[in-house]
Structures are given as structure tokens and as C-alpha cells.
Amino acid sequence: MNLIQLLKKLSLIDFMKGFTVTLKALFRRKVTVQYPEVKTPLSPRFRGKLALMRYDNGEERCIACKLCSAVCPAQAISIESEERADGTRRTVKFDIDAFKCIYCGFCEEACPVDSIVETNIFEYHMTENHERIQTKEMLLATGDQHRKQTIENKKKDSRYR
């Protein structure tokens, strides 16, 4: 080790450089988003909680074709169907296991009648284990609750699909 290197080491110049970097950062603008009060913008394509949609007349869209359950990579969807009195095929059971679901959005893309959709809700929780199974009623209720917002988002995104 030559003399210049030794002096450089002893003068702690590298430490001073490191200190200036962090000291500058001390006065930099802070980037924290104060989450519950302030939220970051969400893309209309955001894939959040799953929901089932209805037609404008209130009839459920799902025709129990089981394409979504077939395409689901996590096998989170289980469907049972029956024939109604008016001859249409409808589901009697439409369960999504929220723990299995990976929010890939394949079910939404596979759906021929735009029944199953992903809303942009990501703030939800469950306190009991059995609540992870989202039944047909729960999914339809989610769809009804966020119908307006979801339709708006899908409309915005439709240009790019």
C-alpha cells in the first residue's frame, strides 16, 4: 500500500463522502404516501377482488360454461350447474377460494358473457378461515355494489384490448 492510499484511508475521506450522501437525503423531499388518507392512483386495468356481474334487467350473466374454472391456473373456481324451468343453464354453486386465487385475470378474459370480472378493490379482509370461500351470492353482491365503477373501468380499458 503506497503512501497516498494510506493517507486517503486515514483521512476518512470515503466516510465523509458517504456522510454527505445521507445528509443530502435528510433534506430531500419525502416520498411517503400517507396511505389511508392519501392513495396512489389505480390503473383501470388493476386486478382486485373478483365479482360476478348482472345484465341491466337484473338477470345474472353467468351461463355456467365453466371456461373460467377450466382456465384458472390456481384451480380456485368450482362450479355446479342445473337447467332452469325456462330452459337456460345456470349455476347453483359458484365458489371462489380467495386464498387460492392469484388475481391473474384469466377467468375474466375467458368469460364469453363478461360475467366474472375483477374489480379494483384491494382493501378487504376476512377474519375466519371459512370466509375465504366466496360464494355466488357474495360475488354477485360485490358486483352489484361496485357495478358503476367496474363498468367504467372496463370501458376505459376496452380500447386497448
Partner: protein
């Protein structure tokens, strides 16, 4: 305040008054220290947060000021888990063994010319003894936990303490030579007369070495190998929960404050004002700035505490062999060399001191 207490209790025997005054001083210092730790934890989190471009804790109380109180309450209410294979007696003893020397060392710290709990003659020696005594708590904690990681952490702490204790002792020898006394009050008195008379100029290398080995002594970043999170989880206190962990935390921060206050006393003139000797300020509104007072000591201490936090935000942890080579091959030779230089300065009468 001392006079007030003495006059209030004048009907008692003088011995009893002295005892009461000492107990009162101890209570004041201990409470202030615990409040300092409460402040320090928040200070550290805030400063590191700001250095990361975050805002740090800001939910509990205005600007997050009650965050550390909330944390303390949480820790005190948590269950104390004692591992079934642990040595129960030493497991419970070691946090206390760490805390007692950390608190006891403050007995000889002169906060201002007339506020010192025990003005003993061998103040510096006492400090040296007590600051190294803390390592027993660390080693016992690691050993009593009966966990490999805790034991590894405490072994590292022991080796580190031995290495840096020597550099620290030599740095103190330099101060001792310059100050001409082991009494901390007299060391500060030897530095009176303006910022140029403080020991940090003639003893600059010792000042740096003392602070670095102080950081190593307190097991703080970047020398916190004893608790390196990445490889040995939390080191010696990995098995502690609840109040045991809280005591380790308390002791660490009290030690941090101790090193800061000692550096200010030994090298930056303790309670002396920054502006002593500035005759312009006399007879003006700012004349109070010339007065030596405890606030100067607090400002200097806060500065060093800021450096502690600043270091933690800036640098990665040292590797073990780097730590050892820094201690043995760099710091100790520097201190020995500078003591030689000091001897020459002493004989040639170069420094601000004179042969008594």
C-alpha cells in the same frame, strides 16, 4: 437548588442531608436518562426515516412524538418467554447486569460545574471499568439463552470489546496526560478558555479513535456484529422478549448517550461555551452565550448522538475480520503513536497545557 434543599432540611443531621441530596440527584439523572432513551428511539427512527426519504413514525401523537411511549407500553405488557433449556437465573440476571453498569457510569459525569453525583478522584478509571463491565451482561445473556445464535453473538461481542477497549484506554491515557487529572471535572476545567483550548485540536486522532471505539463498545452500527440481523438474527438477545428485551434496548441507548456525553466532556470541553473568548459578545444581549452551562453539554451530546444515527443510516456493517484488523492494526497503533507525539509536545511545551 442544592442550597434550597440544604436549607429546607437544615433541622437534620448534615450526613442525612447529603444522603437525601445524593438520592435526589440519582433520581433526577435516572429519570432524565430514561426520558432521553424515549426521545432517542424516536429521534433515531425519524432521522433514519428522513435519510431514506420517508417521514418515519408520525401516527402516535403529534409528529409521532408518543411512538416510543406506545412501544414501551407494548413491550412491558408482552409475555416474558424463558426458553425451557435456558439457565433461568442467569437468563434473568444478564439484562440487569447490562443495565446496572450503564446507569452507574453516569454517577461520575459532571453535567455542570456543581451538578455531579459522585465527584470521585478516579473518575476516568471508574468509567473505563464500568463501560467494559457491560460485556458480562452480553456474554451471560448469550450463554444463558442456550441458543447457538445467541452464543455466537456474545462471543463476537466479547472479542470486539477486548479489541476496542485497548484503543479506548489508550485514547483516555492521552486525555489523562493532557488534563493532568482523572477527575472529569478537572479535565473539563483544564479545557476552559475557548474552543481552541479544547482537547479536540491537540488530541484530534485520539478524539476520532475514542469515538470510533465508543461506537464499537456500544455495539452500534457499523460495528453491531454482536447482533447482526442478517446472519445471527439478533445475536445475544435473540431469546429475549417483553421486558427483558426492553432492558437490553434501554441499556444500549443509555450507553450510546454515555459515549456521546463522554466524548463531549473529554474532547469538546463539556459545559464550556462555544463562544468563550469572543469579547464582541460581552455587554450585549448575547452575553448569556458566553456562560458555561449544561446546555452546551446537551448540544454537544446531541451532536454525537446524531452522528451515531447518521452512521447507522450511511454505512453497511463491517465484516468480522475487517472489524478486528481495524481495531488491532489501525486504531491501537494510531493511539500509541499519538501518545508519543503528545509526550514530545508536552516536553516541548507545544500544547495548550503546561507542566504542572
Amino acid at each position: 437548588m442544592k442550597e434550597f434543599i440544604y436549607s429546607l432540611l437544615s433541622f437534620l443531621d448534615p450526613q442525612w442531608i447529603n444522603l437525601i441530596w445524593s438520592l435526589l440527584q440519582i433520581a433526577i439523572v435516572t429519570i432524565c436518562l430514561i426520558l432521553t432513551v424515549v426521545f432517542l428511539v424516536l429521534f433515531e427512527r425519524k432521522v433514519i426515516g428522513y435519510m431514506h426519504s420517508r417521514v418515519g413514525p408520525n401516527r402516535v401523537g403529534p409528529m409521532g412524538s408518543l411512538q416510543s411511549i406506545a412501544d414501551t407500553i407494548k413491550l412491558l405488557l408482552k409475555e416474558v418467554i424463558i426458553p425451557s433449556k435456558a439457565d433461568k437465573f442467569f437468563f434473568l440476571l444478564s439484562p440487569i447486569l447490562l443495565l446496572i453498569p450503564a446507569l452507574a457510569a453516569w454517577a461520575v459525569i459532571p453535567f455542570s460545574p456543581d451538578f455531579i453525583i459522585a465527584d470521585i478522584n478516579a473518575g476516568l478509571l471508574y468509567l473505563l471499568a464500568l463501560t467494559s463491565f457491560g460485556v458480562y451482561g452480553v456474554i451471560l445473556a448469550g450463554w444463558a439463552s442456550n441458543s447457538k445464535y445467541a452464543f455466537l453473538g456474545s462471543m463476537r461481542a466479547a472479542a470486539q470489546m477486548v479489541a476496542y477497549e485497548i484503543a479506548m484506554g489508550f485514547a483516555l491515557v492521552g486525555v489523562l496526560m493532557a488534563g493532568g487529572s482523572l477527575k472529569l471535572g478537572e479535565i473539563v476545567a483544564a479545557q476552559s478558555g475557548g474552543i481552541l483550548n479544547w482537547f479536540w485540536i491537540p488530541l484530534f486522532p485520539l478524539f476520532i479513535v475514542y469515538f470510533i471505539s465508543g461506537i464499537a463498545e456500544t455495539n452500534r452500527h457499523p460495528f453491531d456484529l454482536a447482533e447482526g440481523e442478517a446472519e445471527i438474527v439478533a445475536g445475544f438477545h435473540v431469546e429475549y422478549s417483553g421486558i427483558g428485551f426492553a432492558i437490553f434496548f434501554l441499556a444500549e441507548y443509555i450507553n450510546m448517550a454515555l459515549i456521546s456525553v463522554l466524548t463531549s466532556i473529554l474532547f469538546l470541553g463539556g459545559w464550556e461555551s462555544f463562544f468563550t473568548g469572543l469579547t464582541i459578545l460581552e455587554n450585549t444581549f448575547f452575553a448569556f452565550l458566553l456562560e458555561p452551562s449544561i446546555f452546551w453539554l446537551l448540544i454537544k451530546t446531541l451532536f454525537f448522538l446524531f452522528i451515531f444515527v447518521w452512521l447507522r443510516a450511511s454505512f453497511p456493517r463491517y465484516r468480522y475480520d475487517q472489524l478486528m484488523s481495524l481495531g488491532w492494526k489501525v486504531l491501537i497503533p494510531i493511539t500509541i503513536a499519538w501518545i508519543g507525539v503528545e509526550c514530545v509536545m508536552y516536553v516541548m511545551q507545544v500544547g495548550p497545557w503546561s507542566i504542572a
